[in-house]
């Protein structure tokens, strides 16, 4: 499979298209949740409602993006492994994951108190960090294409 992807004219662009399509939906749905935390969008709706509407799509799209990403990685594993933007992207994905887990453990403990209103500072911080990390992930991802 990796060799086929590398040698075919159409396989890499096709997998890359699936990756881009899935990742824009990951970023778009996560940003919706982040912007609710920051009080920019969907202010009048409960946070839990925005999150439960968006996050199932985030996970589905993330699974697709990760699968396509792994296929792309497999076609030129050594090149990507030693690529700095690639490493930065993986590090930011890890940080985004940690940020999300921490938010779900600690940030939503008193959710009933702010679900309909303004989130506490820690939750806002998690939203801001997520926004920043995902922007960096997109930028680093784009840089991989220009440095490999």
């Amino acid at each position: 499979m990796p060799t086929q992807i590398r040698e075919s004219d159409w396989m890499f662009p096709t997998i890359e298209t699936v990756h881009v399509f899935a990742l824009v939906l990951v970023v778009g749905t996560i940003m919706t949740v982040d912007l609710r935390l920051l009080g920019v969008a969907n202010k009048e709706r409960p946070f839990s409602q925005v999150a439960s509407e968006m996050l199932p799509w985030t996970w589905a799209a993330f699974a697709l993006a990760a699968l396509a990403g792994m296929l792309m990685f497999s076609s030129k594993a050594l090149t990507y492994y030693s690529n700095i933007p690639f490493r930065l992207k993986m590090a930011c994905l890890l940080l985004a994951g940690i940020n999300m887990v921490m938010f779900h453990w600690l940030g939503t403990r008193h959710l009933e108190a702010w679900d309909h209103g303004r989130p506490p500072r820690a939750a806002k911080l998690a939203g801001g960090a997520s926004l920043l990390l995902w922007t960096t992930i997109v930028a680093a991802g784009r840089w991989i294409g220009f440095t490999t």
Binding site: G28, V138, A139
Partner: protein
């Protein structure tokens, strides 16, 4: 004719400046991709409601009214960043059939969004009022989902055809 225009544009001082800055294209593309994320997510949230995949949550008219500014601001940023990319590499875009197909799909999607929004602004129950309207809403939603995916696909293939 287009070929001559591309040659002229790529030799202008501003194009040469963009070409010589290595960071310029990936930076503009990053802004472009994040704007696509905002646009496509907004379009899909509305489309899934039109199709009936999602039923809960806020009324369709409210959903569309709230997503409208995001959609049009994202489209303006996409147009702006797209123009910057075209100024940098005119032949890569203007002589490319994937680019032309993409532009046709962008116009079609913008038209669809405008029709959905204008109808709802005048009459909040427009798309759910009768069986015919519901079927039309469904068809429009499916078209928007396919065209949205088509725009992303054609966009990525500009780099390969």
């Amino acid at each position: 004719m287009i070929k001559e225009f591309c040659d002229w544009l790529s030799s202008t001082r501003v194009s040469v400046a963009f070409q010589s800055a290595n960071w310029f294209v990936p930076t503009v593309q990053t802004v472009h991709i994040i704007s696509i994320a905002i646009l496509l997510t907004s379009v899909y949230v509305v489309s899934f409601r039109l199709i009936g995949v999602t039923r809960r949550g806020q009324p369709l008219a409210t959903l569309v009214a709230k997503s409208a500014p995001w959609v049009w601001i994202a489209l303006c940023v996409l147009l702006g960043t797209g123009i910057l990319l075209t100024i940098t590499e005119p032949a890569r875009e203007l002589l490319n059939w994937a680019f032309r197909v993409k532009m046709l799909m962008v116009i079609a999607l913008a038209g669809i969004l405008l029709v959905v929004q204008i109808r709802l602004r005048r009459h909040p129950a427009y798309w759910t009022e009768s069986r015919t309207r519901r079927l039309a809403a469904r068809a429009i939603g499916i078209a928007a989902v396919i065209i949205g995916a088509g725009i992303v696909t054609a966009g990525r293939w500009i780099a390969y055809v």
